[in-house]
């Protein structure tokens, strides 16, 4: 069992932070890696990126958005409760090195994944510009932490309730126009990563994205997480989750992410009904 030692609700309780006791994983986790979490006996295996880890305390931090039955179930777990299974660290760590000027672009809960990577690049001696965005001010997460991990920092909201009004891609263009950038890292909703990659391609700037397909084992044994990268089939759980943003077939990825939409809706509705009538 993996006990929750700290819990915070963010973005009007649509996003939850859990710090979980997992000493063995904490000792090994590196930025960009993920865990697979299963709440209980009947639960689903859900991949979540490790947002932070503390080897000394023996804890890892995960941040998830409540989108379906499984995450709704996770949300019911409070400090002192435990997840039945946490498996990790999985995936290849992000390759962090000193390059010069690095831009980190994050959207939605992708910012949780981006944060340890941003910190890593800053610590490695890079000049890091971060651009994070969300639909509105209330849904923005990890603003302070991201700010502290960046040399230059921009916020965008779709509705203009905070920072730049508009998409992260607009600010990114501006940054690319005025600076020589060595690497862009984009993590967030698939359409965001797709558009960021489209832009950076025209500027010829190397771009890394972190993919989040549906997974089961997370060890390369099922092929559920396959994505087409540069025309080749890759397993995101072992070959990624980071890939060259200019090579990813985003439409294929989005299609596979929709595989269980109907089932998920049904399960979520049943869950809400059950919780509601309790």
């Amino acid at each position: 069992m993996f006990k929750i030692v700290k819990r915070e609700e963010m973005a009007q309780a649509t996003v939850i932070m859990n710090e979980i006791e997992a000493p063995r994983i904490a000792a090994k986790a590196r930025p960009g890696q993920f865990v697979i979490i299963k709440a209980n006996e009947t639960g689903e295996r859900i991949p979540l990126t490790i947002s932070d880890s503390d080897a000394e305390k023996g804890t890892i931090t995960i941040i998830y958005m409540v989108v379906g039955k499984s995450t709704a179930l996770f949300k019911t777990l409070l400090v002192g409760d435990a997840f039945q299974d946490v498996i990790g660290p999985l995936g290849k760590p992000t390759h962090i090195e000193k390059l010069g000027n690095v831009v980190c672009v994050g959207g939605g809960t992708g910012v949780a994944v981006l944060y340890p990577i941003t910190r890593g690049f800053k610590d490695a001696g890079n000049n890091v510009t971060s651009i994070i965005g969300s639909r509105n001010k209330e849904l923005l997460i990890l603003e302070d932490k991201m700010k502290a991990a960046s040399s230059e920092f921009h916020v965008c909201t779709d509705d203009g309730s905070y920072g730049h009004k508009g998409f992260v891609t607009e600010v990114l263009k501006d940054v690319l126009d005025n600076n020589k950038i060595d690497l862009v890292i984009a993590i967030g909703p698939v359409p965001m990563m797709k558009f960021v990659s489209k832009i950076t391609e025209t500027y010829n700037v190397k771009t890394l994205v972190s993919l989040n397909p549906i997974m089961i084992d997370g060890t390369g044994m099922c092929g559920c997480c396959r994505v087409s990268v540069g025309g080749k089939t890759k397993f995101a759980c072992v070959d990624g989750p980071d890939f060259d943003g200019h090579q990813v077939d985003y439409d294929g990825l989005m299609n596979r992410l929709r595989a269980y939409q109907e089932d998920e809706k049904k399960a979520y509705e049943a869950h809400c009904q059950m919780v509601g009538t309790k």
Binding site: K28, K38, C224, T233, V238
Partner: protein, 470 residues
């Protein structure tokens, strides 16, 4: 006297009672229901008690087959299970899934003229009887040696090594990547062929004799083999199986509705997708299903699809019936359940509908040409024979390769050109000191009993190493 031998001649092979095909094709309960005591005794009396039992030479772990059958004939069921346990620690599993027709039963003398003694059914009967009566006493354990062994992977090879070494007095910890133990026995082979409580009860027995189990441990990622030694383990056994799915590598394979058999069966069995939404893992329920391949995994996938409500399930295989590697019983059961076989047929590409979901497969007819490296006649495409099949679910069950996750994390463990671990067949030793390997990660996809046999060999060698130093 004359009368006795006369009756012996007359006893026919006792059929295994089973659920009727039209009922079982829609449920997940076990297909054969098992012999009664009377039937088992009758079947046991068919055995000639050969002086040179051919059957035994076909058993990879050398079970004393006439010995345990004699016990059954004499209604000494306790004696029978003891005899089996001397060589085989998972008889309830083996009785159900071993390919008896090419092993023991294939060599049985009675089978030369008529039907062979039903050795598998008898093995299953004895094991089930012991488990259900709770009579199987725990085997006795040697005095503690103070040595620690790490076993990586909880499939049949790992469980065998663990069991053997525990009895020899060593302390054993089993590391499993999944959240549940059993390997292919829990994630691959379906409930209707191998009920999961049987596997669980075998593991429980090992826990009772002192096995320490750590699930959720992906060795090579959370801990390396080297680190296991640093943590104080004196020896390591690697039995991680052959868990890397093979795909067809044809256009359209990433459409929603196409699964590897590993994914399909893991969703169904380990995650209990067939009980969705009681269990949270969804699984696509196809109406018109195609399964590729012709092995046990293919049959398991096809029969699972039927149980999940398919109207039509078609097995597509590019060779002919003779080459189908599945157990005879599985092919027979599949046919009875209404699964169709499209032999000498190969897929060319998949086509999706406007929602990106599988809608059709384009296929090609084949004919048999010259023999290939494996000695089997190579299938060659018949020009202009393209045709289309409608389908909303396809499962690719054409085999597995070695999963490199663990092996690439340790350079001292030598691999062969296919990525399987090189291990001495006599001992199971790898090229790294203190590390043994066995099962599918050494041989490539094989069988439960071969994995167990490899486990036994490795356990003996590990014991020698820990007690004698070689």
């Amino acid at each position: 006297m004359a009368e006795k031998s006369a009756t012996k001649e007359k006893i026919a092979r006792q059929p295994m009672p089973e659920q009727a095909a039209d009922v079982r094709r829609r449920n997940f309960e076990e297909v054969p229901t098992g012999y009664s005591k009377e039937t088992a005794v009758l079947e046991a009396r068919r055995c000639l008690q050969c002086k040179k039992p051919a059957c035994m030479t076909g058993c990879p772990v050398g079970v004393d087959i006439p010995g345990f059958i004699k016990c059954i004939a004499e209604e000494d069921f306790k004696g029978a299970i003891q005899k089996i346990w001397e060589k085989n620690s998972l008889p309830a599993v083996c009785g159900r899934v071993c390919p008896q027709e090419v092993q023991c039963e294939g060599l049985c003398i009675v089978g030369k003229k008529g039907e062979p003694v039903a050795i598998g059914n008898l093995e299953r009967f004895v094991a089930d009887m012991a488990r259900n009566s709770g009579e199987g006493e725990l085997p006795s354990k040697a005095a503690a040696t103070g040595k620690k062994v790490a076993v990586v992977g909880s499939g049949p090879s790992g469980l065998t090594v663990a069991g053997d070494l525990l009895l020899k007095g060593h302390s054993v910890t089993l590391f499993e990547a999944f959240h549940k133990t059993g390997g292919v026995l829990v994630y691959g082979i379906p409930e209707f062929r191998l009920p999961k409580d049987i596997v669980a009860s075998e593991v429980e027995t090992l826990e009772k004799i002192g096995l320490n189990i750590e699930c959720n441990m992906v060795v090579g990622s959370i801990v390396s083999v080297e680190e296991l030694f640093e943590e104080g383990y004196d020896a390591v056994f690697i039995g991680v199986g052959a868990g890397l799915p093979r795909f067809l590598n044809i256009p359209g394979e990433d459409l929603v509705g196409i699964y590897s058999a590993n994914e399909y069966l893991t969703r169904a069995n380990l995650m209990k997708g067939y009980l969705f939404p009681k269990y949270d893992t969804p699984i696509i329920r196809g109406k018109n299903v195609i399964v590729f391949g012709a092995g046990n995994v293919t049959m398991d996938s096809a029969r699972t699809a039927m149980r999940l409500g398919a109207d039509r399930v078609r097995v597509v295989y590019r060779r002919s019936r003779e080459e189908m590697p599945a157990r005879a019983a599985e092919i027979h059961h599949a046919e009875e359940e209404g699964i169709e076989f499209h032999l000498l047929t190969a897929p060319v590409r998949f086509l999706g509908n406007e929602n990106g979901r599988l809608a059709q497969m384009e296929g090609l007819k084949m004919e048999l040409g010259e023999p290939d490296d494996s000695g089997r006649r190579r299938p060659v495409p018949i020009e202009g024979s393209e045709f289309m099949l409608d389908c909303d679910l396809a499962v690719v069950a054409i085999g597995a390769n070695a999963n490199p996750l663990l092996t690439q994390s340790d350079q001292e463990i030598t691999l062969n050109k296919w990525g399987y671990i090189e291990a001495d067949p006599e001992t199971g030793k790898t090229t790294k000191k203190g590390v043994w390997a066995g099962g599918d990660i050494v041989t490539g996809s094989a069988t439960v009993i071969l994995a167990m046999g490899a486990g036994r060999i490795a356990a003996n060698s590990i014991h020698d190493y820990l007690t004698l130093g070689w």
